[in-house]
Symmetry: C2
Subunit: 207 residues, 2 copies
DNA sequence: ACCAGTTTGTTCATACTAGCACAAGCGCGC
DNA sequence: GCGCGCTTGTGCTAGTATGAACAAACTGGT
């Protein structure tokens, strides 16, 4: 029964959302109980890893039975602070920004897109995914008023850093960057990256 | 001077595209030489790691000078088999599939989108990103004719597995899956995943 | 030619990660 | 009540990854 007194490894935290995603699918499928073995096969990893990962946070299973799907789902949501809806803004209303803004997959997983920004005057005012595109100038005020801590950057690479600077100055604490460039931010701001080409290139090594 | 007789760790292979991306930016900036220290600071990792990663493949630097940007760039492209353009198909011509199909960022990084497929009759025949949307039925023949080995899946989660099965049966060897679900494929087929929500959820743990 | 400054490739020690294996616990059927 | 089959949580071991440190090597200036 190890509680999170000790630091939980980053790599473990990164797997929790994957477990949550699988549990969500099981829940939708009407499944009531699962086991570390079943989850492991589902996800293609070892069952011991799942048990050990979860043991960082408490004891959620029952010997002989396994885990209650809904029970573990709720526990993980709490651990990840997803038992609330986090507001989220997107900067860059281009191809990918528009697609993401229209994406309905955030709502049941802890996030809600509340703002979409661009600096192109011809785009400001347009309606995309139920949102009105706003000017970059509105970002600081909007972030403050809405208490938003999450942002996605979907602008061309050469503008990504300046957008990041605006976001950091506005109080954003977590940035998901789609632009293929590494960002410089203070240590208390978290950044993650999405670049499909990186994945493709990695796989190509093995072909 | 360790050549790749021994197995190169997967995690190392995964970093090579990141190095390549940074080198590409330096190249565009007109930079001629760089060092492991400069790259490390740029990317926020340790310089020793960069040197050791590269040492798996050969000796590309010169003491006192560092690395030729173009030289290392070309070496990495060869190592990753990116000194050619790989054809790439996309299945699912919805929001995200259309955005990706229109993305111009593949062309200079080793890939070229050559086909876009959907099973919705109202979408087949449409023009998106310079491509004509084709029916799923065309996939096997198209893949065979074009010798395509890379595919991206951008269909709703519940159809992702069946699309993956079609792709595997058609001869695709590398799949980048945007749907939030784990795929079952033979061991000789590589799969990578992109799910923005996973990244957001991970960062939320620390907030 | 030599020295000072720099940077590589590699060695070595430390830290981290993954998975085996098993005691302890639970449920079910008889 | 009792035994059998199953599953958890964790100690331990083996395997991996990381980063500090350093000898060797190269450059440029004097
Ligand atoms: N489209 C894709 O599939 C895809 C995939 C991976 C990565 N990306 C990356 O995502 C980013 C956007 O790609 P895209 O295809 O949507 O490009 P895009 O040109 O369609 O959209 C970019 C948008 O950003 C806006 N913009 C530019 N500078 C800005 C600024 N300073 N502040 C606010 N808005 C600004 C532009 O007005 C435009 O609307 C790029 O960095 C690209 O490399 C795109
Ligand atoms: N839009 C985003 O920003 C975003 C982000 C992350 C992940 N995703 C994921 O990407 C996928 C697509 O999202 P979207 O927003 O583009 O959805 P969408 O509904 O706009 O597009 C899905 C497309 O797939 C097609 N399709 C359905 N079944 C098919 C099949 N069997 N064969 C071929 N085509 C088929 C549909 O006709 C439609 O055109 C989803 O799994 C979603 O979860 C989307």
């Amino acid at each position: 029964m190890a509680l999170d007194q000790h630091e939980v490894p980053d790599i473990v935290v990164g797997r929790l959302p994957v477990y949550l995603r699988a549990l969500s699918a099981m829940k939708s499928g009407g499944k009531q109980y699962t086991s570390s073995h079943e989850l492991a096969e589902w996800l293609g990893i070892s069952s011991a890893q799942i048990r050990k990962d979860l043991s960082h946070f408490g004891e959620f299973g029952k010997q002989g039975t396994g885990y209650s799907v809904i029970g573990l789902y709720d526990e993980l949501r709490q651990i990840l602070h997803l038992d609330q809806d986090w507001p989220l803004i997107i900067v860059g209303a281009g191809n990918i920004g528009s697609a993401v803004a229209s994406y309905t997959g955030f709502s049941h997983r802890g996030f809600r897109v509340v703002g979409l920004f661009d600096n192109d005057p011809t785009k400001i005012g347009a309606q995309i995914g139920g949102l009105t595109v706003q000017s970059n100038n509105e970002i600081p005020q909007f972030v403050a008023d809405s208490h938003t801590q999450h942002a996605m950057i979907t602008v061309p690479a050469q503008y990504a850093q300046q957008v990041a600077d605006i976001l950091v100055a506005s109080g954003i604490k977590a940035i998901l960057n789609y632009a293929p460039i590494n960002l410089n931010v203070p240590h208390n701001v978290h950044v993650e990256y999405i670049d499909p080409v990186l994945h493709l290139q990695k796989m190509t090594y093995y072909l």
